[in-house]
């Protein structure tokens, strides 16, 4: 590269700017709508939503039942909604059963409760290995499960998206729903981590 010092935007940035201005000029897209979409995914939709769902399920056994029976319908109780075309399936961890979510096809992910997926979720190593060596993948994430723990791997599609309902950590008995939600990480809801008493970093 001879022009590393230049102040011009990068090639993809220029192409996207050109595309956007062309589409705006033709009246096909409203820049304000783009701003609103970006704001939604950067600030409004994310793992915090899923954490609220999980915390509610931990403190409310009836909600837990509804969530496992029909995830898409149950999350509307907290003000969240699927896009309408896909089912949200919630899979519950237990002492001898651990669930892990992947999309070997591409990048399907439960947007309303987790937001947009991290890069590793869309990466070739995760997608290829989660289904043939889930224990090995989980060890790389620092989760070494006992041999007698069954691992169930859920392969997503555009129509079927999965959320893991992790186990409530021991020692959290006295905590409020809000405090519990603070413990629940994105990775715990994908299944690559467990929930601990350490406050989640998001």
């Amino acid at each position: 590269m001879d022009h590393d010092h230049q102040d011009l935007p990068s090639d993809p940035a220029l192409r996207v700017m050109a595309l956007e201005s062309l589409l705006v000029e033709k009246g096909l897209v409203d820049p304000a709508a783009l701003d609103a979409l970006i704001d939604t995914y950067e600030h409004k939709v994310g793992p915090r939503n899923g954490a609220r769902v999980v915390a509610r399920a931990w403190v409310d056994p009836e909600f837990n039942k509804r969530l496992l029976a029909d995830g898409g319908s149950a999350i509307t109780e907290l003000g969240y909604a699927t896009q309408g075309r896909e089912h949200l399936v919630v899979v519950e961890n237990a002492p001898r059963r651990h669930n892990l979510v992947v999309c070997t096809l591409c990048s399907c992910y439960p947007w309303p409760v987790l937001g947009l997926p991290p890069v590793w979720y869309k990466s070739a190593p995760y997608r290829s290995r989660a289904v043939i060596d889930p224990r090995g993948v989980l060890r790389e994430f620092g989760l070494d499960l006992d041999k007698d723990v069954e691992i169930r791997v859920w392969d997503s599609t555009s129509e079927m998206r999965y959320l893991v309902l992790p186990e409530r950590p021991a020692g959290s008995e006295g905590m409020s729903e809000e405090q519990l939600a603070d413990l629940v990480t994105r990775d715990a809801m994908i299944g690559t981590a467990k929930v601990t008493l350490t406050r989640a970093q998001r």
Partner: protein, 55 residues
Amino acid sequence: MNGVHDMGGMHGMGPVVREAEEPVFHEPWEARVYALNRALAALGKWNIDASRHSI
């Protein structure tokens, strides 16, 4: 077919690399093009299969 889809069970892709404190979008243009794609999908000019095929 060898492509970016249907990767389940493939070998030789290496370890899973994670990024700490990963932002939703890494560059402003990623956010713009993502939003463009979502907004234009409303025009109904392509379906999800066509979308995936084009990746």
